[in-house]
Amino acid sequence: MSENVAIIGTGHSRFGTRRDVNIAELCWESMKPAFETANLEPKDIEFFVVSNAGMWSSEAAVPALMAEYADLAPKGSMRVEAACASGSAAIRVGYTAIKSGMADIALVIGIEKMQESPNPNVIELIGRFGSYFWEFENFGLTFPAYYALHGTAYMMKYGATEEDFARVAVKNHYYGAKNPYAQFQKEIDIETVMKSPYIAWPFKLFDCSPITDGSACVILASEEKVKELGIDEKIWILGQGVGTGTANLSRREEFTSLASARYAAEQAYKMAGIDMDDPIKYLDGANVHDCFTAPEIIAYEDLRFCKRGEGYKLIREEQTYIGGKIPVNIDGGLKSKGHPIGATGVSQAVEAYKQLLRKAEPGRQADINKGVWLAHNVGGTGHYTYVTIYGLEKEVKG
């Protein structure tokens, strides 16, 4: 039993089109710096979790592949899949393993090599993350289309515009341009978004996160191990909530919010001791799941950064830039940093570590006053949501 669990090492691969490496090599690219920052070796790992959605890539037994490549055999392992939230699900498995006392040091690696398959095949496969039989088989829903149904509902209900959505892309590219690990290190303007071709109305190409290869890795340790190893640089997991939504969108009550996200947020805030009516007061910043632009705005509301129906005003007033009410996705987000499905949730944890320990690159370091960071990671279209709260101290300051 460990009361508290810390992230003591992190690594992040370059995200993008990575035809220069295979799956094992891409994993190692983030594992090596994780070992180095934790000052540990593969033999120190007691249990490891691999987040990988797969299907589009060749190797399915990634834990075994990495047991071999990284000298982790014969340690225990598990492959975890929760669509785009797989990374956070893997962190949860590592976290609970340590919390329960089954392990003291666990490694979590998120990996996706989406470009081993041609883009049309990836589009086909990723559309199947909802209800395959009722919504994909007959109606050919794609991943952008599922979220576009939410974007449309949001615009109709609250009067937000496609330009408001575009503002999210502009912000995330602005910060992605400052992140050397990002797939797109290039700023864009609203016009670029508005002029790009429709993918699933109202979303255009620049409303969408890209198809990405990448990996990210964190090493988790129990409080006892942190003491024993004398680890200085670490962040603590203060709380985590997870929710699940219905497979069919038609089984849901509304399309301007994700019920699983609200549920996960409530749990995470409660566990971390954060006042649900004013979470911004406790947070230095957040990473939210901007697989498309509109879902970032919906995330502001599901996480209670603002009232329902006011999320688009936060981005309109640039309140989610550094210096605003709460900086969001200042690593570029999924939109500009890239979205290697299984790696995304782990990448968010790496970003929390970098931000809280003031290790972010120039121009994208938030002011750290409260020492608390939030990560919101959604699988499918609210089919799964994980909200995780990270902190410099073991408890939040009120």
Binding site: S58, I123, W134, G140, A153, I199, A200, W201, F255
Partner: protein
């Protein structure tokens, strides 16, 4: 893709292996020789009445005999009562559109279709339904009334769709 296949064949002859050099990065790639085609066989044994109804232009759901809960898409079991004693009921084929999209970039398995509008409507009976919208998406207004109808797909099978009322 065809160009890539040609190149692979050429390289296989000249270099001995199914490889290509990626144009952008210059990195050497092995092109998998094993191709997998997927087609699932899915049981509809317990929802046969849904398809029998659809053939006659009806939209059928299930209703728990014990608690009256209505399920669409239909399901065999009621988790509220842990009971499986269901009635098949015909749903009213009218409702109100709640949201929509137009799918421009389609999955390859829908490649034979033009961009298609997809909508979610709340039926007057209560359940929601997601389907293709057979109408002009530009003309859709908030509160748009819609009906459920059955049409034959290009593949040859019958399926329900939404249309403006």
């Amino acid at each position: 893709m065809d160009k890539m296949k040609e190149q692979v064949m050429k390289n296989m002859e000249e270099l001995g292996f199914p490889v290509i050099v990626d144009e952008k990065s210059g990195a050497m790639q092995w092109v998998d020789m094993r191709e997998l085609r997927l087609r699932y066989i899915i049981s509809i044994e317990n929802i046969k009445p849904f398809y029998e109804g659809l053939k006659e232009g009806k939209l059928m759901g299930t209703k728990c005999k014990k608690c009256g809960r209505v399920f669409f898409p239909p399901q065999k079991d009621c988790p509220s009562c842990l009971d499986s004693d269901m009635d098949w009921v015909e749903l009213k084929k009218e409702g109100t559109l709640e949201t929509m999209t137009v799918v421009f970039v389609r999955p390859p398995s829908f490649g034979q279709y033009d961009p298609y509008p997809v909508a979610i409507a709340k039926l007057d009976d209560g359940p929601r339904i997601l389907a293709w919208y057979n109408g002009d998406p530009q003309q859709v207004k908030p509160g748009q009334r819609v009906k459920v109808q059955v049409s034959r797909r290009r593949e040859g099978y019958l399926m329900y769709e939404l249309a403006p009322l």
